[in-house]
């Protein structure tokens, strides 16, 4: 039997929903052919939405009420089981990622999604250095992505440099900008840092839009050269100088997609590898110490300036690599690809995955970006679902999808600890 309290609660929720949705869902403003505005009513939609809210709230209350009877603290049997399963997640994911192009039934479309997901995995891992390890909240990460993309596009356009020359250059330029941004914000903490990095991202975008003579403005840059396989271009002609001709294969457009897929997989794994290695070195430990307590860091003689700047620079460098890859993959870039929402999505991937957890970031990228692609048919509803999923995941799992962390240093046996024990840093 449904308790009366739950019913009343759901009724109130429906009442609030009624107040919320009557003006904005019930009355739609449309532009008439003459240019004026007129209202169209949609009362049935309001009734449907309110009904959904009523039922949703009712189910939620009942479900939470039942779950609330059990103690929620302490590791349950589930946690232990999940932990054991968790050790296999990373190798399995890696194996699937490496074999993906050769799994039967995987087509060009699926590979394209794979490339997209891996790009976000790489961006997530890059930002994880700044936010997850060093604890510096960066809301303008997309600026470095943009700098990397535009570095490659402009160097290729004006100097005719190839992708392989530009890739390191894009990374270095992005790292340089990372230091340039990092320098003035060294003294800032927490939300102030967040808002300055957000402003920095917007400044870069506005400059890209308005500096028409260099960047082409809102029209962007097209015809960005595609990467070659150690000097062998992917061409449909299939002559002796091309990839297909050299290896004696049938020329196919899929070759380039597979190559791009492995390229971004390699770049992402490079990011991961560098992060894992650095965590064991003095610099990485200094980052994590900085995240836990900046004052203690200073007292122990850690150079906070160098530590913060190196985190910014390395994070930015990987963002720059990803940007150069994005430019060569798309062959066209415009400032529209580098809006604040991108920064927010990357940050969401890092936080939803679990700050500082490498596997968590990969899973979150897969869930968010892969899921986003699954809902392609929903068109404008897609972002609505995406935002809703962000709220729902965060509210139900504030510490991210992967709730455990592996400490870098441990006395005796090394084992996973709860994410709650890790500080999130104050910038």
């Amino acid at each position: 039997m449904i308790p009366a309290v739950a019913l009343r609660d759901a009724g109130l929720a429906a009442l609030v929903a009624f107040g919320l949705f009557v003006p904005l869902v019930g009355l739609r403003t449309d532009v008439s052919p003459t240019g004026g505005l007129f209202l169209r009513t949609r009362w049935i939609d309001v009734a449907i939405v309110c009904g959904i809210v009523f039922l949703g709230r009712l189910v939620l209350t009942l479900w939470l009420g039942r779950r609330g009877l059990r103690p929620t603290t302490g590791p349950g049997p589930w946690t232990a089981r999940l932990e054991r399963a968790g050790t296999f997640v990373a190798p399995v994911l890696l194996g699937v990622a490496a074999a993906l192009p050769f799994i039967p039934g995987i087509d060009r479309y699926e590979l394209d999604i794979g490339i997209l997901v891996l790009t976000y995995v790489m961006l997530g891992w890059g930002l994880n250095i700044v936010v997850g390890l060093a604890g510096l909240l960066d809301l303008g990460y997309v600026a470095f992505y943009a700098i990397g993309a535009y570095s490659y596009a402009l160097l290729a356009q004006y100097f005719g440099l190839s992708f392989w020359v530009c890739l390191p250059l894009a990374g270095i330029l992005a790292a340089f900008w990372g230091v340039l941004l990092g320098f003035p914000v060294l003294r800032l903490r927490g939300d102030y840092l967040a808002i300055v990095t957000l402003a920095f991202g917007e400044i870069i975008r506005v400059v890209l839009i308005n500096w028409v003579s260099l960047t082409g403005g809102p029209n962007g840059i097209g015809g960005i050269p595609r990467p070659s396989f150690f000097g062998l271009p992917f061409s449909m002609e299939g002559g002796p100088g091309t990839f297909a001709g050299f290896f004696g294969l049938e020329p196919s457009p899929t070759h380039r997609v597979i190559f791009l897929y492995y390229l971004i997989l390699g770049l992402a794994l490079l990011t991961n590898w560098v992060t894992i290695r650095l965590r064991r070195q003095p610099l990485g430990r200094a980052w994590e110490a900085l995240r836990e307590d900046e004052i203690a860091c200073r007292a122990l003689g850690i150079n906070v300036t160098v530590t913060k700047l190196s985190a910014f620079a390395l994070g930015a460098m990987f963002g720059g690599f990803a940007g150069a890859f994005f430019a060569t993959r798309q062959a066209f870039i415009s400032p529209e690809s580098f809006t604040f929402i991108e920064s927010a999505i990357i940050l969401a991937i890092v936080v939803l995955g679990g700050l500082g957890s490498q596997v968590g970031v990969a899973i979150a990228a897969l869930v968010m970006i892969g899921g986003f692609e699954l809902f392609r048919d929903l068109d404008e509803w897609r972002m609505l679902v995406f935002g809703g999923a962000m709220v729902a995941i965060m509210v139900s799992r504030p510490r991210g999808l992967v709730g455990t962390r592996t400490p870098t240093v441990a006395l005796g046996q090394k084992r996973a600890i709860s994410g709650d024990l890790v500080s999130e840093g104050h910038g």
Binding site: L24, R28, R187, Y192, I341, V351, L384, V395, E424
Partner: protein, 304 residues
Amino acid sequence: MAYALQQLINGISLGMIYGLIAVGYTMVYGIIGMINFAHGDVFMIGAFVALIALLLLQLGGVMDGTAAILLMLLASVAVTALYGWTVERVAYRPLRGSFRLAPLISAIGLSIVLQNYVQVSQGARVKPVEAVLRGGVEVFREGDFAVQLSYMQMLIIGTTLAALAAFTILVTRTPLGRAMRACEQDRKMAALLGIDTDRTISLTFVIGAALAAVAGTMYLLRYGVIDFYIGFLAGVKAFTAAVLGGIGSLPGAVLGGLLIGLIETFWSAYFSVQYKDVAAFSILVLTLIFLPTGLLGRQEVEKV
């Protein structure tokens, strides 16, 4: 001279709108120590509700300018306050006591939801409205350049001042305001002394949203064009204003809003319109580097 005076008037009326939104940011920041990322979108909702109210009033035959504006304000404030309450309830309350980044992400998620909800329910096209209030007075004349103070600008400045006055009285003279200030200083202690902190925080969001609704209505009336995306830029600039004035300080938010409005207007008038946003953001970066607590903010003492 006359040109500068005109820009001053324009800048003040724009700055008032930013100031109203900035108060919402600074209040929420003061009480829970977090940026309300969905606040810009709450402002956008306020503008949309005002638009719908205006169309309803025109259908109902209310043609008188002042009455229409008053009713629009009432409708917008009522509905938008409900949205503000919902934002707190959905994105902040379940994460109370959680670590700091969690509510930030859920608020960014909610901001995406609100934007796309309005896009889906109201359409992506920009909504133009006819001016409700026309005309103005000539303040000053130099040669053939007349400095105009339009009735609309007078209305914006007057309404903003009235809203801020009401709000100041609320914060300084009423039990609710006292509870808010107590929560701001020490939430745990306030709770121990019998203040319903959850309710106080909810009401803070509601009041912030109500002020954002006033700003949204003014924005609609002044510029006559809105779309679902106006919340982002206005939100970032209002937050800049709050930081510039010293976050947590209510007079600071208004002062910061006025400064941002003036800087933006004068920059557009004398330098370049394209880079006006860059000017506003550069001011933000410079303030934080040289004056990290803002103009009227208090120095934070850090204890180990």
